[in-house]
Symmetry: C2
Subunit: 209 residues, 2 copies
DNA sequence: TACGAAACGCTAACCGTTAGTGTTACTCTC
DNA sequence: GAGAGTAACACTAACGGTTAGCGTTTCGTA
């Protein structure tokens, strides 16, 4: 994955990276709303259409972590040790993401995001997408025939945990609070019985604490 | 509020209503994306700038219930009987809203919303706004000195309940499931002890079931 | 009646985004 | 290595939501 498989793809990746870097620099320098797409394209020395060939929207220039976050969430479910219960695994993933986003170096970026309604809205709708992916992963993990309301509910709660903890003045503590609540919600979840009797290798939730 | 306090305000309200009605009719007839702002303004016989003087965005033309929903949520907290516990009161409000939105007559509208990414995104970010209002109301109800993470968390869970139940094939049943989970989360919430010993008339949660 | 303000209109533009249409540069195949 | 196919990129022009600037009407009120 670190090997360059061909000149074409390398050039493409370079162009994409240059656009992303240029955009972020301009945004942080002058403010997100004060920088237009045409500015970014000019500074990155590409055409506007090229920019949109690499990024689906202006907001996507900022949220390049989008796909990463989604992967981290679903992988927390699918790639966890065989007998690790679900919620703590998710807590770990969310915790890592929160720590990553509340680090000193990330502060200016998130300050910019919090200051721009457009970016805030984008982040919210991104969370909903991630929640849906997570719900699918959870349903698969429980060997359910389809994604249930309970799966979707837990998934939403988990992605909201990220948002709430990140915005809190004490993220680590907030994470504790919220996941205590999520854990409780999970135990009150009616999905479990079905999971325990379903065929295949359904990893229901084990004793956890 | 039903009394006309002046000709000016009546005319303004009439203009606003005419715009909203015209917009909704056009949207349902031809589809949200197929109708432009200029079309709506022309059909309502007003200038585009007038339209935007009454509604902050195209999406707001569809979500005229916005303020109503927000009021219903906060009122469910502030106007409930003296000893009614918090979560069931919120369940009642959400239930009413869900029933209202899943009624036969509302079906085409919500079908349109679900079909348009722009409207979906708007609804999501609307929910976040409502959640913040609700969190403030909850904090006030618990006589907390400021809005805590726990308040925000419960508020988010509650507004997500609306979304999840509305999208479910069996909303009534989904509501049961989700609020069982929310109730459990609420009981695991660390805010309560502070509420019980705080001064004034803090209505902590009572025995409920 | 005269004045201030609110509601409304018109024009012209800005900005994000896309369709249409080439042109260049790489990869693959013979 | 020549040629074909294709992916990346550029350019133009436009579309649709939104806003600023500025003038006009209409209402409430002193």
């Amino acid at each position: 994955m670190t090997e360059p498989p061909g000149r074409r793809e390398r050039k493409k990746a370079a162009t994409r990276q240059k656009i992303a870097d240029t955009a972020l620099q301009l945004f942080l320098e002058r403010g997100y709303d004060a920088v237009g797409i045409r500015d970014v394209a000019a500074a990155a020395d590409v055409a506007v259409t090229t920019l949109f060939a690499h990024f689906p929207s202006k907001e996507a220039l900022v949220f390049d972590l989008d796909a990463d976050f989604e992967r981290q969430l679903t992988h927390a479910v699918t790639d966890r040790p065989p007998h690790e219960p679900l919620v703590p695994a998710l807590r770990g993933a969310i915790g890592a993401m929160v720590r990553h986003c509340t680090a000193e170096s990330a502060a200016p970026l998130w300050r910019m995001i919090d200051d721009s309604p457009a970016l805030r809205d984008f982040e919210v709708s991104m969370r909903m997408r991630h929640a849906e992916s997570l719900a699918t992963a959870i349903a698969a993990d429980l060997a359910l025939p389809h994604v249930t309301t309970a799966c979707r509910t837990i998934a939403r709660f988990v992605v909201e945990a990220f948002s709430l903890a990140r915005e809190s003045p004490d993220p680590e503590n907030a994470l504790d609070e919220i996941f205590r609540m999520i854990e409780a919600a999970w135990e009150a979840c009616p999905t479990e019985p079905r999971a325990r009797v379903s065929p295949g290798a359904p990893r229901g939730r084990d004793a956890s604490g």
